[in-house]
């Protein structure tokens, strides 16, 4: 058994070798023991410390707190802790000399303990722990904490920002779980859907979407499928949503899928596009509808016709397109003003629509042109009935500001697919048919026909030839002598135009004059004729035949031209000839068409000295009463009567009647187309004064005619 001294030595050695600092202080406050750790960290030998008080041993470097703790341990038996945090390294202890140079003291935790000896004297044991490592650990722990706190702060700032952004966004932002149940939503969602957050939380997204889904989405029966699908789209889908107040709105929906380890969720961004849709609809309306009448415009017509063609093709059906034009609308517009014109267009639009079924399309193509697409018909008769109904409805009186107006329309009809199997063809052919209806005297309808087409093709090519002819001066005037039956001499002729076509040769007037009339080219051609004829008259009168009369055909268009009077008088002045040398041949039709105006014009022309003759007399419906109103000089018996003379009793009767009539009105009579001696004899007997025709001469060039004059002129001066 080891004795107590041995044990004490073991214990002392244990203290000496301890890895914490140990100082023992006796009741007289003298240091009685320091261990190795103390020696090495204080960089002193134990001998320097023993026997001294703590204050002496450490040169007064110790804090009052430490001194007091030691004192109270010895005096009062108190134990104390001096923590590292509240006591900055109370002992000047260093890890090594290097640290001392740098002033880097060990971080210390100090226990001040009271120990009683056998005599109840209080000793003090000071234990010093090196907590440098713990301080370092805590510092990094704090830094880590600080970092994570900052990160958390940053995160909460980010979150607050996000929330602010979400709430200031002018889009609805809604988060959904994978089944499409609403988890969160921003403030704007409440605005758009006009409800409180609470009304939508935990509800399915389906509650705010309209069941009326666009084609691509209608196949989804559950929200998760729809969200999954939508999240894969690169663009927003347009669909309809329902507000909490049960209003349907248009929305754009964009869905993003958020996949985390725990769950799938979605973010839906909804934009209220109701206003945009309205604006689009308005734009669409403006782009496709005529603002005046509310009818479809040309663009929409195009769309509808293409659509109708597709449907008809697929269903193997026929359908008609009606091209409708208001007769003489330009005149109405000019004389009554545009406001009235617009009012008429509105009425006509209404009446057209009123004549049709709801499914049929009526378009205003501009001006006074309308086009109608009739959906599905079963027979052509059905189309006729529709056209008749339209014409009938429109022809009813229109009351505009106390005026009662009458308007008629001409309608051309083309039927798909016989009259054209594409847009251009069918539209063009309906248009052609309409012109045909105009030609047929307006206020009627015409079906397109192939013959019509060919005629029109020809006419169109001729029209362009005609323009070229005017530009290149391919015309020439021929003159046909008119013989005074009684005197057997010549004092007048009829100027007749010839078109010498470079390829087709000589084209007779009846082939191109009607076209020139329709196309308006007649004015230019007529001017040419008048100019040439006047010039030739001046040649003739220059040769002394002062009373010579040149008959010039004047077409209705020329005659109605506002400049006609001034032009023809100017021509006479230009060639220094008398108006009495010029006889203007007009048709019966012209007198019939526009009586008041014609009377005025004829009076002015007659007053100016021009002679007036009625061409082709007997073919129209002239009445005696009419003829009396006009200041006429001559009637010309149409060649159709003359040709049947002298055998045909009807021809004889008509000829006699005309001659008798003319004489009773003191008018001269000229018979045209006289080809035989018998015809001339007959006419001579009946009292006809002049003849014109192949019997005497065909129309001949001016030089030939001049030769004729030399030989047969009535006026003796010429033969001198």
């Amino acid at each position: 058994m080891p004795d107590d001294a041995y044990n004490s030595r073991i214990i002392e050695n244990a203290f000496i070798d301890s890895d914490l600092g140990i100082i023992l202080i006796n009741e007289n406050k003298q240091i009685t023991f320091v261990n190795k750790w103390m020696e090495s960290t204080s960089l002193c030998s134990g001998d320097d410390l023993l026997g001294k008080t703590l204050a002496e041993a450490f040169d007064g470097q110790l804090s009052p707190r430490l001194i007091r703790a030691v004192d109270s341990a010895i005096d009062n038996g108190r134990n104390s802790v001096l923590s590292q945090k509240l006591n900055k390294s109370p002992f000047p202890l260093y890890k090594g000399d290097g640290e001392r140079q740098l002033g880097q003291k060990l971080q210390q935790l100090i226990y001040v303990k009271t120990i009683s000896d056998a005599y109840d004297n209080n000793y003090c044991m000071v234990e010093i722990f090196d907590v440098t490592e713990a301080v370092r650990r805590e510092k990094s722990l704090i830094e880590l904490g600080e970092k994570s706190r900052l990160a958390a702060e940053q995160l909460s700032i980010e979150e607050a920002k996000m929330r602010a952004i979400l709430n200031s966004a002018k889009d609805c932002i809604i988060t959904l779980d994978e089944n499409g149940i609403i988890q969160t939503l921003n403030e704007y969602t409440e605005t758009v859907f006009q409800c409180k957050k609470e009304q939508l939380y935990d509800k399915s997204m389906a509650t705010i979407l309209s069941p009326d889904m666009p084609a691509g989405l209608s196949r989804f029966t559950d929200m998760s499928g729809l969200l999954e699908y939508t999240s894969k789209l690169s663009e927003a889908v347009e669909l309809k949503a329902v507000r909490c107040v049960d209003e349907v709105i248009d929305i754009d929906l964009t869905v993003s899928r958020i996949r985390t380890e725990e769950e799938n969720s979605y973010v839906a961004i909804i934009r209220d596009i109701t206003e945009r849709k309205k604006a689009e609809a308005r734009l669409h309306y403006l782009a496709k509808y005529d603002p005046l009448t509310g009818l479809a415009n040309r663009a929409l017509f195009h769309e509808r016709l293409e659509h109708a063609i597709q449907v008809a093709k697929r269903e193997n059906q026929i359908f008609p397109v009606l091209f409708l034009d208001i007769d003489r609308f330009k005149n109405l517009n000019d004389t009554l003003g545009h406001d009235t014109g617009d009012a008429i267009l509105k009425v006509v639009s209404r009446r057209i629509k009123g004549s049709l079924r709801e499914v049929d399309t009526v378009c205003r193509m501009g001006g006074d042109e309308f086009v109608i697409i009739i959906e599905t018909i079963h027979s052509v008769n059905e189309v006729s009935r529709i056209a008749e109904k339209i014409i009938e409805n429109i022809s009813k009186p229109i009351r505009i500001e106390h005026n009662e107006l009458f308007v008629t329309v001409s309608i051309g009809i083309a039927i798909y697919p016989d009259d054209g199997d594409d847009y251009t063809a069918i539209f063009k052919n309906a248009d052609l048919a309409m012109y045909e209806a105009k030609d047929e005297g307006r206020n009627n309808f015409q079906f397109f026909s192939q013959a019509m087409n060919e005629r029109i093709q020809r006419r169109m090519s001729m029209e362009s030839d005609l323009r070229k002819a005017i530009a290149e001066n391919q015309f020439v005037l021929y003159y046909q002598p008119q013989v005074d039956i009684n005197k057997r001499c010549i004092n007048s002729c009829e100027a007749l135009i010839r078109w010498i076509h470079p390829d087709k040769g000589n084209i007779p007037p009846f082939e191109f004059i009607p076209l020139a009339e329709e196309s308006g080219l007649i004015w230019d051609i007529g001017k040419y004729v008048v100019e040439q004829a006047c010039r030739f008259v001046s040649e003739i009168t220059g040769r002394g035949w002062h009373d010579f009369v040149m008959a010039i055909n004047i077409s209705p268009r020329q005659f109605q031209h506002p400049d006609f009077m001034s032009f023809i008088t100017a021509a006479c002045e230009k060639y220094n000839i008398s108006t009495a040398n010029i006889e203007l041949e007009i048709t019966e039709g012209l007198l019939m068409d526009n009586t008041e105006h014609s009377v005025t014009m004829l009076r002015r022309l007659s007053d100016a000295g021009f002679k007036i003759s009625i061409d082709d007399f007997g073919t129209g419906y002239s009445s005696l009463a009419y003829l009396r109103k006009f200041p006429l000089d001559t009637l010309k018996i149409d060649r159709s009567f003359v040709i049947d003379l002298p055998e045909n009793p009807d021809a004889i009767a008509v000829s006699r009647a005309i001659i008798g009539l003319a004489h009773s009105l003191r008018l001269h009579v000229v018979a045209e187309g006289v080809e035989t001696q018998e015809q001339m004899d007959f006419l001579s007997v009946e009292g006809c004064e002049y003849i014109q025709g192949y019997l005497v001469s065909k129309p001949i060039p001016s030089s030939d005619f001049m030769a004729w004059l030399e030989a047969y002129a009535c006026d003796a001066i010429g033969s001198e």
Partner: protein, 203 residues
């Protein structure tokens, strides 16, 4: 044994004095004014403790306990709600951040503060009552109040309950100081109070 008003005031004055001494030492340590006050003093059976402290049985609290040896054996204890102890330490050492629980170094700092308070309380009442009491090392714990009470001390004993508020560096915290001892010790303490007061020869 019940105390009369003067006797109670005497005890309170003892603890008030002890806290005053502690405040002096703490203010030197933290280089700022420290205010400690004694709003109440009562003697309670230990099982009634939870009625007197501001925290629930299941709340986590921080305690610093110190063994008392000698004429009045038992335990001295300071109790702070856990968050308060954290604020207290960090305010005093002027560290604004750190982990959610006290670190070892912080527990030691709290131990030191509590040790100073308890030591001065013990020193003061030893001196007033002419008794000899030694103290052990202050130890810091964090746990629920119930577990700390169960694991520790004198479940059948008496508690001298001293409410305390602690004000330092604009931080105002409330904590409680308890002295737990067995009934006999308490009786002895009280008789010492009566005896000591008689020496003042008042009235």
């Amino acid at each position: 044994m019940d105390l009369n008003e003067t006797q109670v005031d005497f005890v309170k004055e003892i603890f008030n004095t002890g806290l005053g001494e502690a405040a002096v030492e703490l203010s030197e340590l933290v280089e700022d004014e420290v205010l400690l006050s004694v709003p109440q003093f009562s003697l309670i059976p230990s099982e009634e403790l939870t009625k007197h402290v501001a925290v629930g049985e299941k709340d986590v609290v921080t305690t610093v306990t110190m063994e008392l040896i000698g004429d009045m054996s038992g335990n001295g204890m300071l109790i702070f709600p856990a968050a308060n102890s954290l604020d207290l330490v960090r305010t005093i050492v002027e560290e604004s951040a750190g982990p959610e629980n006290l670190t070892d170094l912080e527990e030691e700092a709290l131990s030191e503060i509590a040790g100073i308070i308890l030591n001065h309380m013990v020193t003061t009442f030893s001196s007033f009552l002419n008794i000899n009491v030694k103290t052990g090392m202050p130890r810091c714990h964090q746990d629920t109040l119930r577990r700390i009470m169960q694991e520790s001390y004198f479940i059948d004993g008496m508690i001298m309950f001293i409410g305390m508020s602690f004000e330092v560096k604009s931080l105002n915290l409330a904590g409680d100081i308890l002295f737990l001892q067995n009934v006999d010790t308490t009786e002895k303490f009280l008789s010492q109070v009566v005896a000591a007061l008689e020496e003042y020869d008042l009235d």
